[in-house]
């Protein structure tokens, strides 16, 4: 057996997450893995992260080292939820050796665990095994499979993200996961490339409606411009602008129904992240963060209706007048 020397993962941090009506202390870990087998998504900044070319054994050893580092650096007893990402799919056996799944389940048994994956790697048997390994009776659904669906619109997903799977693939994966006793979390992307601000907002509203039947949780990511991506090239060429914070509010204010929708406005207020004019950004980012913990749609509506800022008229204008043939109108 290879060494178990602790290795720092790509990132790991503690936070709070709303889960079934209460707020849990959560740990997020991004493991460096064997690397995404697909890596064609236009906005993905992790495409080239990973131990490309390493043997499964080496990958396993490296990932175990990372897990050891996590166990050494965090007081896991105080953590109720663990969210696990790689630079690709946790359930891809090429990327993440299946033995590592067992290690993870051992380490985080009794907590709510969320693992991210592309849908083609969700299979019922393995998922059921993970559920069983995690289940201590503490939570009804100890495992959640998170899938980056991004949008329910297959055409947009293909043109704007180049994701390589369909909504139907997602639904099928969702069914497999649920059959195995796991929950499903859907990631949606607000404003991928080639959409006007309004197209993006409407696509998101529609996606939330359409994905709800297949998800226990929905997480909306507002698109950010990461280095080395196609998106960054477009952004530098001024053919892409990240979404307005107003647009996030507009989507959140529209939420109805029971499925919880989360949004962590990463990079909010920066020119590479979702941003407004710079004046009102702090206040709105704070509000969106508050919503993530409270789920209070009224709070969002109040922000949308009552915050006065010069850029709101600009956003309204952009929402009404930006067209596929004259976009983006702003930076």
């Amino acid at each position: 057996m290879v060494s178990m020397e602790p290795i720092k993962p790509l990132a790991a941090w503690k936070g709070k997450d709303r889960y079934e009506g209460s707020v849990l202390d959560s740990l997020t870990v991004i493991f460096k893995s064997g690397g995404c087998s697909y890596r064609r998504c236009l906005m993905c900044g992790y495409r080239f992260e990973g131990y490309f070319g390493a043997s499964p054994e080496e990958i396993l050893a490296q990932m175990r080292g990372q897990l050891a580092w996590v166990e050494e650096h965090f007081d896991l007893a105080s953590v109720q939820m663990v969210k696990i990402f790689t630079s690709g799919s946790f359930l891809d056996p090429v990327e993440v050796p299946p033995a590592f799944r067992e290690d993870v389940c051992r380490a985080f048994a009794g907590k709510v665990v969320v693992v991210e994956t592309r849908p083609e790697y969700v299979e019922e048997e393995g998922t059921a095994a993970m559920v069983a390994a995690l289940d201590t009776g503490a939570y009804e659904t100890p495992l959640h499979i998170a899938v980056g669906l991004e949008t329910t619109d297959d055409a947009i997903r293909e043109k704007s993200i180049r994701k390589g799977f369909t909504f139907a693939d997602f639904i099928a994966a969702s069914r497999r996961a649920q059959a195995a006793g796991a929950g499903v979390k859907g990631y949606l992307l607000l404003k991928p490339m080639f959409l006007t601000e309004k197209e993006a907002v409407e696509d998101m509203k529609k996606s939330i409606r359409e994905v709800t039947p297949y998800c226990g949780m929905i997480s909306m990511n507002a698109c950010t411009v990461q280095r080395g991506t196609e998106l960054e090239k477009a952004w530098k060429e001024r053919t892409y602008r990240p979404p307005y914070l107003w647009s996030i509010l507009e989507v959140l204010a529209d939420i109805s129904g029971d499925v919880p929708v989360f949004c962590d406005p990463v990079g909010g207020g920066a020119t590479r992240g979702p941003h407004n004019c710079g004046t009102c950004d702090r206040e709105l980012v704070q509000g969106i963060n508050d919503f993530a913990l409270t789920g209070d749609v009224e709070l969002v509506r109040a922000l949308l209706d009552e915050v006065e800022c010069g850029c709101k008229k600009e956003w309204e204008y952009v929402m009404e007048h930006e067209r596929p043939w004259c976009m983006p109108l702003t930076r």
Binding site: A155, I156, K159, F194, L195, T196, E199, A234, E237, R238, T239, G310, C311, K313, E314, E316, Y317, V318, H321, R323, P324, W325, C326, M327, P328, L329, T330
Partner: protein, 548 residues
């Protein structure tokens, strides 16, 4: 709605025309609510294709609006419908990227037919619309200014400023009178369009742009880069303009007309003698020979040398060409200082000239910057320069005496300007023996015996060949289908054109049934490619129809 665009006049890449929607005729360039004209545009969804997209993406995702009159064009896919509108999607993204602006423009001009109205969406502001027009756009919308309104910005030709910084009384337009920023901004755009139209009409848009670009480094950069794209710029530059060329900026030196003049003097023109040349300074008065100083020079030289004027920005103007555009039609600010760039460019022109046309002797009757230019060029050519100006005053008696002495014993030759002008204008060495220029200053012509071969345009100095004159020339033909022109020749009737033809050039129209003399209204590429518009303004038609 059916809209119809027609180009009425040109000024380089810019055009003035009409855009007719139903009963309403708009003078272009202008701004209007384009979505109201082409309602299918508003219905396009998920259809964005950036200008920087690659061929695969364009092929897969470039979709067109339902109305065929408007086509979305792309550097990798031209397709504009005749009579309609070429929508250059997302052009506003180019405004801060001058290098891409120019490269994309050049690609578009290759790909998009010339007869559609070029529409730059969401791009036009009062501060940039002259530049957009200069680069060939005809149609704009109110999206840019309305966006400024939404932002609380007040649009001016000098830029957009927070409305709070605008003093009362700055503007007294209908919008400002009503406290309506949106109306002000729209009116300001329409007013800027009207100004641009006016300058296109005068064919002085270049001068306006050399002014209006000045507060925006991106416009200045793009203007300079366009000048470096000589092929694109020269193809659009007319043979002559009805106005003075005002060389009031550093960039004026780089105008296509200046470079073309210099190139033709080297490549087309041949001096009438090669024994001795006198390089002379220019004069503010044009043509030079009407000035007091040049009357002295001409009297002193007395036919004993070839007279060649050294001037900025044109460089080298042989006496025979002094009347032709732009040699007889430019003005410059006179500070007495020629800067290093000026001297460097002009010395380059003169070096090329002296290498192409070696003289036995070269006398520099020059001072100041022009003398520097001559010395630099002479050194570059390895020739010895004889200098005849005393104390920096070319018209001083001592200088004229030195010039006279330098020319003592040289052969007197009285040559007409005809051969030089024909070479310069038509790129052809013509045997001009027996040809003579006669007539009053405002009605001069080249005769051979009693036959007029070329009338000389008193405005531009260009030669206008008669049918007899065309017999001496072989190029500058426009080929037409089998018909006899009634009035002007339209573009669809043109089957071929000498690629050297530019708007304003004299041409001979030839077809199976007719010949006609006339003046090109558009350049060769456009008359071959366009499906509408006047190609040649016809002066005289000769039917060749046989009795059937």
């Amino acid at each position: 709605m059916t809209a119809f665009f027609e180009v009425k006049s040109r000024d380089g890449m810019a055009r003035a025309g009409t855009f007719t929607v139903g009963e309403a005729v708009s003078q272009t360039p202008t701004a209007l609510d384009v979505e109201a004209v082409y309602s299918s545009l508003a219905a396009m969804v998920h259809a964005n294709v950036p200008l920087t997209a690659d061929q695969v993406f364009v092929d897969e995702y470039l979709v067109q609006p339902e109305e065929e009159e408007v086509r979305i064009v792309h550097p990798l896919r031209g397709e504009a419908g005749a009579g309609g509108c070429a929508l250059v999607a997302n052009w506003q993204t180019m405004l801060e990227r001058p290098r891409d602006y120019v490269a994309t423009l050049a690609a578009l001009r290759e790909a998009v037919p010339p007869d559609a109205a070029w529409y730059a969406p969401a791009a036009a502001l009062p501060s940039n619309v002259p530049f957009l027009v200069y680069t060939g756009f005809d149609l704009f919308d109110f999206v840019g200014v309305d966006l400024m309104t939404a932002r609380g910005l007040f649009c001016t030709p000098e830029g957009e400023i927070p409305v709070a910084e605008v003093e009362e009384g700055t503007c007294r337009c209908a919008g400002c009178e009503a406290g309506d920023l949106g109306l002000h901004n729209r009116l300001a755009l329409l007013s800027a369009c009207a100004t641009a139209r006016r300058f296109v009409g005068k064919e002085q848009l270049r001068e306006l742009v050399e002014m209006r670009c000045r507060l925006d480094a991106n416009q200045v950069t793009a203007l300079r880069l366009i000048d470096q794209e000589y092929t694109m710029a020269e193809a659009a530059a007319p043979a002559a303009r009805p106005c003075r060329l005002l060389a009031n900026a550093g960039e004026s030196m780089e105008r296509a007309e200046v470079k073309r003049f210099a190139a033709r003097v080297v490549e087309r023109y041949v001096p009438p003698r090669d024994d001795v040349a006198v390089l002379l300074p220019c004069s503010a008065r044009k043509p030079y020979s009407t000035s007091q100083s040049h009357q002295k020079f001409v009297r002193t030289v007395d036919g004993r040398a070839h007279e060649v004027i050294i001037t900025s920005p044109l460089g080298v103007v042989p006496r025979e060409l002094e009347g032709v555009y732009p040699a007889g039609h430019y003005d410059v600010p006179v500070t007495g200082y020629w800067d290093r760039e000026e001297c460097g460019l002009l010395a380059g022109f003169l070096t090329d000239y002296l290498k192409a046309h070696p003289y036995g002797r070269v006398i520099a009757h020059l001072e100041g910057g022009a003398l520097e230019v001559a010395r630099t060029a002479a050194a570059a050519c390895g020739i010895e320069l004889q200098e005849t100006v005393v104390a920096g005053r070319p018209t001083a008696p001592a200088s004229l005496a030195a010039l006279d002495e330098a020319l003592a014993g040289e052969r007197k030759i009285r040559s007409t300007p005809v051969a030089g002008m024909l070479a310069w204008q038509f790129d052809e060495q013509v045997e001009t023996k027996g040809m003579q220029v006669k007539g009053k200053p405002w009605r001069r012509a080249v005769f051979k015996g009693k036959t007029i071969l070329f009338n000389i345009d008193p405005e531009t100095g260009l030669y206008k060949p008669t049918f007899n004159g065309w017999e001496h020339l072989h190029g500058y033909r426009v080929e037409i289908d089998d018909f006899v022109p009634r009035g002007d020749v339209l573009a669809p009737g043109v089957t071929g054109a000498d690629p050297r033809i530019r708007a304003g050039d004299e041409v001979l129209v030839v077809g199976p049934s007719a010949m006609a003399t006339g003046r090109a209204a558009m350049g060769a590429a456009e008359m071959v490619g366009a499906r509408r518009g006047v190609a040649v303004k016809v002066r005289k038609v000769k039917s060749l129809q046989h009795e059937s």
